[in-house]
Amino acid sequence: MSEINLAPLTPAIEKFIPLGRSGLLPALHAAQKIYGWLPQEVAAEVAKSLRVPLADVHGVIEFYSLFYNEPVGRKIIRVCTDQACALKNADGLLRHLCDHHGLEPNQTTPERTLTIEPSPCLGLCEQAPAALVDDKAETNISLVTDSKVSRLSSKRQETFESAAYELGRPRSIVGGSLRLLTANCGNGTTSLANYGEYAALNKALTMSSEEVVNEIKASGLVGRGGAAFPTGVKWEGAANADGDQKYVVCNADESEPGTFKDRVLLLDDPHRTIEGMCIASHAIGATKGYIYVRGEYPYILPVLETALTEARAAGYLDENFDIEIRVGAGAYICGEETALFESIEGKRGFPRVKPPFPTTNGLFDKPTVINNVETLFNVPFIIAKGAADYRKVGTEKSPGSKLFCVSGDVAKPGVYEVPFGVTLRELLEMSGGVTGNLQSVLFGGAAGAFATSDHLDVKLTFEDLRAAGLPLGSGVVMVFNETRDMRDVLKRLGHFFAHESCGKCYPCQMGTQRQMEILERVANKVTLPDDAIRLQDVGWTMTDASLCGLGQTAASAVLSAMKLWPSLFVER
């Protein structure tokens, strides 16, 4: 007990004290940076300083995967074992690493030098297999098997060619038939000098708040995080809501397996997000903004901090509207907007019941606009060129361009920007084509659905996808060739949701566990009689009765697989 020296803690958490409870996650991050984990004395000191009950601090530490209440290694390797990385032998990589260091997954070496953990999707799917080594992304990992040098090593040939990429920061692979949103992506971070002045913001400031909202409404822009809610309607709601304080929140908690577009956008063009937030703040009358970045993207933080500093120096951010970065700590559920608010408020990431909606009762119970990174990327374009011009791209009902995260069995995985209306076939051709013969595509993310070759000519628009029963989700297109065992893919989906359920509502808390147990049996080909019916009942109960979007979609891909491949689920 007495080994813990609390002296360095006080200066590290001092600046979070005025934030009170809302400072809890930042303070715990700062404390963990010092001690490597969160010993009881440290947690108690944080609790006392921030005036948060001890039990509540404990509850928060317990909720987030990246906070540790017991000692871990000074170095932590997190190996992604989700779908895209699994296709590139992530399990073999994890086993190799563990064997070499004499560890089991989730164990720490006796001298506390190293901890190795399997991780949910790290958002590095186009460069699989991938791992996070402390704060650094390791991608396209190959194994050096010489035992003396056995360690993670990356094929970095392309990385080293560009000075813009620093070690530990993943490359951005960007393609497609359009470069409207991704104009500045693919060549390292775009500084303010290269981005140029915030012309769209300057134009917006000559317009009334109502005119800005109307322009966004006229553009037909809908949210790109997965829910596809009309952005202009959301802004209008918050603009009309009464509140002495309003907030703009950028949801950069990109954690949907197979999704990595927001990582690329924030790393390569941070100013477009900031400009989008500034325009939103003008539209609704907000004085404070937050960018909530997932904890597994630590390499984005210095890029964002530099960009915010540049924006402040240029006068775009000031006491009338400034932006604070908040960092998640390993919880997919915090991508759910109300859970994200709870997290900023220093609580466990439990989703709230809706209504009330964020536009009236959002962050700190104040009117709030919360938008996904890609959604905000559209905003400067719409304001600068006008809604009519914006609508020239895409289709009548799905205007604009869309970013797709193509991964798995294609020749050139990456972020692809295309106008709404290209077909799945065209998108896959752009991505270099399927390696092998197409078996299926996981569409929209873990919370999405499976497509097959029957869907190749479906146009990628909201309306066509809806008709085909495929959710656009967060733009995930994960490709599986005919050699892949879909049972293994389903098992990993099951694990993901069981790991990420917050545990609040019964259907999801127990349903994700029961679903995982049955999918394990499916993967091991030891199903019991009636497992298919059990899986259906669990799936529909989660879909129908769960409290938030996580539970409501946790069975979506599984139920679609049951329709496509019923024989996989029958006892043999």
Partner: protein, 228 residues
């Protein structure tokens, strides 16, 4: 202001702002509840009270959804029954329901099969007997949250308990597993009062169940107080 709507085909008059659950109870329509308690903030987390509201894509929790004029509500549609039955069967495959008579009655009512889900990882935990007032057996806890709520803003403002883990691994816990006397607990007993399953049980009741006589218990209790 009064509004009228249809519940299970019956015309119901309710106050504007009244919940569906409340309106149903006043009109003799039974909707089951687990986490709901008059004394605690409704969190709509057990979802056993879900009902089908015409025009809504998802089932709605009756404990918090407000009645609206002219809406049509089904409290026992096929979807509702499937959800309730599956939730109950999942509970039975997760925890020890032996001390939860209300849930067992519900299981009968919905023909829920306690062995519907075989080979499950159950939530099991040792009985925690660490204070003179109550014992905690989280094998019997169905995570209704009421104890955490009354310990916090819903009643006592003691903040002695919160949650361990998350998802299926969630359990009610104290700061770094401290014993109850080492927490801020004031032994007010409100958590025991709102526990629906016997996961929190008065020490005396627990000891009687263990076969001790009242005389033996009264001797035990003197001198066991460890409070500061």
């Amino acid at each position: 202001m009064a509004i009228t709507f249809l519940m299970d085909g019956k015309e119901i008059t309710a106050e504007d702002g009244q919940t569906l659950l409340d309106a149903a109870r006043e009109n003799g329509i039974h909707i089951p509840t687990i986490c709901f308690h008059e004394a605690t903030t409704a969190n709509a987390l057990c979802r056993i009270c879900v009902v089908e509201v015409e025009g809504m894509r998802l089932l709605q929790p009756a404990c918090i959804v407000k009645a609206a004029a002219n809406q049509k509500v089904q409290t026992r549609s096929e979807r509702v029954v499937r959800a309730r039955k599956t939730i109950l069967e999942m509970l039975a495959s997760t925890m020890d329901l032996s001390d939860a008579p209300e849930i067992l009655t519900m299981m009968d009512e919905y023909s829920a099969d306690a062995s519907r889900f075989p080979d499950t990882q159950r939530r099991e935990s040792e009985v925690k007997d660490d204070n003179p007032m109550y014992v905690r057996d989280y094998s019997k806890c169905l995570l209704c949250w009421r104890c955490v709520q009354v310990c916090a803003e819903d009643a006592q403002y003691t903040f002695a308990i919160n949650f361990d883990g998350r998802g299926y691994e969630t359990q009610i816990g104290t700061f770094f597993e401290r014993t109850i006397p080492e927490t801020t607990c004031v032994l007010c007993g409100q958590c025991v009062g709102v526990c629906p399953t016997g996961a929190l049980k008065p020490k005396r009741e627990f000891l009687l169940e263990q076969g001790m006589t009242p005389d033996q218990i009264s001797v035990l209790n003197t001198g066991r107080k460890k409070r500061k």
